[in-house]
């Protein structure tokens, strides 16, 4: 059949000449390619010691944010779960009692909030849907596990610790939200 491109190379099997049979020019030619690469900048990194920089909008493991006073932002409104195309998010909600006012920002809060990391496709629609700036995707990776059940991340793994906050300023919505 007629070729569609001109990139095809025709293989020839004509006998080698005497110079070709010496192999030395071919070896030198090959070594030239090798030595040229010694001078070039290495493209790989030595992974565990060295890690690549992530893009500012890299979509990795989720975080459930707290506000400045350390209260959880999530009100279990369910918009992330309804936006999720992979149906990875589930939650149950409850009403905040008077003595929990320092723990949760609004009168309703998520008792359980689970993301199935095996289902999640890291599309970021949950953070886009969130009206309370509670869920964000971060540049952290989801570590490998031996059991399937360990990939279902509950609030213990998702909520950021009050004393070691997770920085998401790079991906935070820059414009001011119009609603309160």
């Amino acid at each position: 059949m007629e070729s569609l491109t001109n990139r095809k190379k025709v293989v020839s099997d004509k006998p080698m000449t005497f110079v070709e049979k010496l192999y030395i020019p071919a070896i030198l030619k090959g070594m030239m390619v090798t030595f040229k690469h010694i001078l070039k900048r290495r493209k790989t990194v030595k992974y565990p010691e060295e890690t690549r920089e992530f893009a500012p909008i890299y979509r990795g493991m989720h975080v459930l944010k707290r506000d400045e006073q350390g209260r959880e932002n999530c009100t279990a409104c369910g918009l992330c779960a309804v936006a999720c195309p992979a149906e990875a998010i589930t939650m149950t909600s409850a009403e905040r009692t008077k003595d929990q006012a320092h723990l949760y920002r609004e009168e309703k809060y998520a008792v359980t909030y689970e993301i199935n990391m095996l289902r999640c496709i890291f599309c970021g629609l949950c953070e886009e849907a969130c009206p309370k700036e509670a869920v964000f995707l971060t540049d952290r990776l989801v570590p490998t596990q031996f059991e399937r059940g360990e990939f279902i991340y509950g609030k213990d793994k998702l909520v950021e610790p009050a004393d070691s906050r997770i920085d998401i300023t790079k991906r935070q919505f820059t414009g001011k939200r119009t609603h309160v």
Partner: protein, 320 residues
């Protein structure tokens, strides 16, 4: 029979019909939205001003246009009247203003409100509201009140449509709640925190167009779009026992009356299918209901989200 033209569509209706009801006979985009008018509760309407329409010709006898927009829920049609609803720029702008007024004191706490997803104010704001608020003053705030052990009153969210007052007046023998004060200070109250205890008091949850009156047995249990509305019935001595049960798996999370496309309780056999409190609040066990099948949900509604089965399962009946 009188002839009236709404948005260029002619319809002949009984004399004395309001413009809104004539438009509902046409259906579709000709129907103005209504927040306070409730066809099943005589006397409602004329309060929220969302249903204002433009009358381009008063009647065949006097074809001059009416100078101001009129409330379609309480204006009877005249023969030869020409009404513009969707087609009028003036009506559209005015409705945006009305929504802004209704939202002036509304807390916009949809993420925690149980009504979200089936809220008429949400729909109205989505269609006519502006993306930004111009309101700079503090909104008036109230603490949520328990009226009885089944109903929660969030006065913050109330738009003072008076529908719940009409429910109490017309369905129950003794009304214990009403609207206190006037104008900006008006609020729904039982005055001395009295519990609303009546077999039919739960219907004020169904008629409330916003999340001001919500079901305490369903409070923060789930979001409506995660639940599956199923038509169900049971034999009840107090009411018709025809309801919609909102299920999650095999569990009934809440029970509401069957509502039509205008959000009003449907009439079954010429009688409005109000529910008694027993059916609404106490019967949460699936074995107590005869479940007929999935309810038809508008495909555009958030409640239809993620319910792929509804197109396969045969719905009980088609609305509109």
């Amino acid at each position: 029979m009188v002839k009236v033209t709404i948005d260029g569509i002619e319809v002949s209706v009984e004399p004395g019909t309001t413009i809104l009801n004539a438009a509902r006979q046409i259906g579709g985009d000709a129907v103005p939205p209504a927040m306070c008018y409730y066809s099943k509760l005589p006397g409602t309407g004329g309060k929220c001003r969302t249903c204002l329409v433009e009358v381009a010709a008063g009647s065949a006898a006097d074809p001059r246009p009416l100078p101001k927009l009129v409330a379609s829920c309480s204006t009877p049609v005249q023969d030869g009247m020409v009404v513009n609803n969707k087609t009028s720029e003036r009506v559209h702008n005015n409705r945006g203003g009305v929504v802004e007024f209704l939202l002036a004191n509304h807390p916009l706490d949809c993420p925690i409100c149980d009504q979200a997803g089936e809220c008429h104010l949400q729909d109205l704001g989505y269609e006519h509201g502006s993306a930004k608020t111009r309101y700079e003053e503090d909104r008036r705030t109230f603490d949520p009140i328990d009226i009885g052990n089944k109903i929660k009153l969030h006065m913050n969210r109330c738009i003072l449509c008076y529908r719940c007052v009409f429910v109490a007046n017309q369905l129950t023998d003794k009304r214990v709640h009403g609207v206190l004060h006037r104008g900006e200070h008006a609020e729904i109250s039982t005055y001395i925190q009295e519990a609303v205890e009546n077999d039919f008091s739960g219907n004020m949850i169904d008629v409330c167009p916003v999340g001001a009156l919500t079901d305490r047995t369903f409070r923060f249990k789930s979001r409506v779009w995660f639940l599956k509305p199923m038509e169900a019935e049971r034999s009840c001595t107090k009411c018709c026992g025809k309801a919609v049960v909102w299920m999650f798996g095999n569990e009934i999370y809440r029970v509401t009356a069957r509502k039509d496309k205008y959000g009003e309780v449907e009439a079954i056999d010429q009688k409005t299918a109000w529910l008694c409190n027993d059916c609404r609040f106490e019967k949460k066990d699936a074995s107590e209901w005869n479940i007929l099948g999935p309810r038809v949900i508008n495909r555009q509604s958030v409640i239809a989200q993620g319910k792929y089965a509804t197109t396969i399962d045969k719905p009980v009946k088609r609305i509109g």
